[in-house]
Amino acid sequence: MSQRAWIATRKGLFQVLLDTHAGGPAAWRIASSSFIGEPVSMVLPGSSTHPMIAALKLGHFGVKCHASDDWGDSWHEIATPAYPSQPEDAQDEPPWKLEQIWSLAAANGVIWAGTLPGGLFSSKDCGASWQLNESLWDRPERLEWFGGGYDVPGIHSICIDSRDTKRMLVGISCGGAWLTRDDGLSWELRAKGMNATYMPPDRTDEQNIQDPHAIAQCAGPPDTLWCQHHNGIWRSTDAGALWHEIKAPLSSFGFAVAAHPTDPDTAWFVPATADQQRVPVDSALCVNRTRDGGKSFETLRTGLPQKDCYDLVYRHGLAVSADGQHLMMGSTTGNLWASADAGESWQNISCNLPPIYAVRFEAVA
């Protein structure tokens, strides 16, 4: 099986392919580009039930969504999620205006979009129309959410339970983690155990103000969740009912996390110096991997720059393929690396891409 991945950047969307030749070494190459010059905040690879979707964040003309059925050879604009009319007596500080699509996920033909300023949208018609999830938007706790990374709160992680797609957990900066068991009809907070040292001492364990930078789910068993939080790393083995803190070497600060698709004890993180600097520790890039549920870590550096390196990997900038062996990582400095051995070693694919927002794998038969 060959591999395909999509790279969403500040200046366009790139397709990268792993070419495998009999007898020769496999090598990734940039195969095509789309939307050159435009910010692509997120991409959803296509499947048999939905097209590929690219979310653009046009600097002047707002958020736009485009779909492709031919791996980016052609695109057509589809509907963009839109917030309802803001009531005059709304108590929100942020206006009800779409600023960015921060996350995209799909299951059973339903596409979910997590956005800034905090709305979750769904589409059952491949993006021809979108509906705001009002039960989450109308939660009174939402008024307590605040921006983390951006000026307004946003939904950056959507974890759909592979056993039962009516169960879904979303991660919000800053609004904790929320679980639905009934396809979005009702929601409950699921951030117990997380801790926020950026809050006053008597509020650090409050669930609704936690800043999970990213939450990744083990596809099977999906009750295992990993969270790279603003103040460290947490893991849950009960679908977010309780989170346990984990200490990683070098630094537990970072943005990205990738969860092994089948092994609930394996996950990868990219440590950075907390909190104001946000660069690799000692200017040397590495990946922390645990294979025992966070009891211990290996720090993996082979093939990554170990001197004068200031690449930061954003929360969607690290991905693992469905086989758990291929990893890909893109940085704010436009470097893109791949690993074919679960992170043991890395090869640079490009050091000249625009700042990378998101990396996503797509399996190719």
């Binding site: 046009l58 600097g59 002047h60 003309f61 707002g62 736009k64 604009e77 963009t80 839109a82 917030y83 309802p84 009319s85 803001q86 206006p95 009800w96 205006k97 779409l98």
Partner: protein
């Protein structure tokens, strides 16, 4: 007739027909453009019906300041330019 001219920068995404219309207000003029190409609405206005933050409108050479109230009056031969602001790039 009021003349509405859209920035050619929009042509990367959608058609920008030059429209002449009878329009008493800026809103009427914009609606005439949107009637010519409905897709334009989402590029110029946000979902609350406000002028997008980084879109600039000039009416007879004067920049529009109020992004929410689009009922500003036009003269019968006003020229309305909808431009890409220098901010937001």
């Amino acid at each position: 007739m009021v003349r509405i001219v859209l920035t050619p920068q929009l042509q990367r995404f959608t058609e920008t027909p030059e429209v002449e219309a009878i329009a008493a207000t800026l809103r009427d003029a914009l609606e005439a453009s949107f009637a010519a190409n409905p897709q334009l609405r989402g590029y110029v206005l946000d979902e609350q019906g406000h002028l997008r933050k980084h879109v600039a409108i000039f009416i007879d050479g004067q920049m529009l300041r109020d992004r929410q109230n689009l009922s500003v009056s036009l003269t019968p031969d006003s020229e309305v330019y909808v431009l890409q602001a220098l901010s937001g790039g």
